[in-house]
Symmetry: C2
Subunit: 224 residues, 2 copies
DNA sequence: TTCGGAAACCTTTTCGAAATTTCTGCGTAA
DNA sequence: TTACGCAGAAATTTCGAAAAGGTTTCCGAA
């Protein structure tokens, strides 16, 4: 298991280990529920025991890692039940963020949204090769732009957390599912409804949109 | 600043320091935004540096402590803006948890709710001396009982987090406000609406109930 | 006086070994 | 066969000192 990581560019060693470990967890390189032995990580990153422990402690903040007194750390477990609960709350959070954004959104919000949607639409209309390269980022930017006017940090933090775990489930259970077949129409519809400031329609659309993505993950989770 | 703490009863020293520090933070014994020096805490609890650091790292999970690379830890800051955002999301979360509970609630939920409401009503009808002693716990138990059937761990975790910070703001900004004058009528109305499974009414009542509490805190925060 | 820089000081961060606890495998007794 | 217990191994947790980085103070030059 000899692989060297680059921990440069971070202010402290803890941050470097934290970032790399987080990345491994989100990429699915570390299996859910597997043990994260301090001694093992210590040699992998070539740092002290407490540096590793502190990085792991910080990952506990995002529920990516769990710990049980005197029994070490583990990667967060995954389950169909857990994922379904995640989807439910994610829908709720996104819906609320969108409703707030529609209420508070100013010209700047609209302008940013138009731009983000334009970029995404271009990519979704492009050939598969290009899509694969940029879609993920453009998709995320678009969704971020839709809610960018909500202006509530607590809501934002919850949204980030749910997005993080969503990505992890995607990677673990449906890594092939890069871009859902019909997301282009979804995004157009959401964009139009937002420009109309039609909250009810936006709410209905985003729920459907998310649950469509979710079903692919559920299928992947069930298969195992 | 010589005060001895009891760290017994915890599996690890980290957990003990974590629990005591958390308590101090919630009691307002540690001022918001004040620095949390490792060296100072080290001597206070008579433990090693990394034990303190890890306890602080775990408090970061709950946003009770912040850290900036190479510049140590600080108690979370408070502000009127932050509190208002907290209140908004707390209302949203509680409303959703209640709606889910109403949908999923079974006989057990109803029975527990009746019992919790009964206990709370007794205390709210009692003489001030007794109220002061038990109201806080009974109030919390009642609200927990109202949402106990929602069955979504993500929602539950968010709810706990918001409740934690709510308590902190209460303690910091309005420590005298033990029991709002008219919470008795509020709780009765919420209870009745729940038994009727009237979601819309419950939603309206809980928002009003929370914002009533919140205004006392806002006044306290503004005064400073 | 004001500014720049350097030294002294303080704090955070990092490490590795020691202490503590849990896990594992094996032998013994019921 | 199953249960129990007890070493030995393995892993976690804890400590305190040393290294690294930030902050303050003070001195001299402009």
């Amino acid at each position: 298991m000899a692989y060297e990581r680059n921990l440069d560019g971070y202010k402290t060693a803890i941050e470097g280990v934290y970032a790399d470990l987080r990345d491994s967890l989100l990429r699915g390189e570390i299996a859910p529920a597997s043990r994260l032995r301090v001694e093992e990580l210590r040699t992998r990153y070539d740092v002290g025991a407490s540096t590793v422990r502190e990085a792991l402690s910080r990952l506990m903040a995002e529920n990516l890692v769990t710990s049980e007194g005197q029994r070490g750390f583990r990667a967060a477990h995954v389950s169909l039940t857990d994922f379904r609960e995640l989807v439910d709350t994610r829908c709720m959070i996104e819906e609320q963020a969108l409703r707030q954004s529609i209420i508070k959104g100013d010209d700047q919000w609209e302008a940013d949204l138009v731009a983000a949607h334009h970029r995404l639409a271009r990519i979704e209309a492009a050939v598969p090769a290009e899509r694969a390269l940029h879609w993920e980022q453009a998709n995320r930017d678009f969704h971020d732009a839709t809610v960018s006017a909500h202006g509530n940090r607590w809501l934002g933090a919850m949204r980030d957390l749910h997005q993080t775990h969503w990505v992890r489930y995607m990677t673990i259970a449906a890594p092939w599912r890069r871009m859902p077949i019909d997301s282009r129409a979804d995004h157009q519809a959401i964009f139009d409804a937002l420009m109309d400031r039609n909250s009810e329609l936006v709410a209905a659309l985003i729920n459907r949109h998310f649950r469509k993505h979710a079903s692919a993950v559920e299928a992947g989770l069930t298969r195992k």
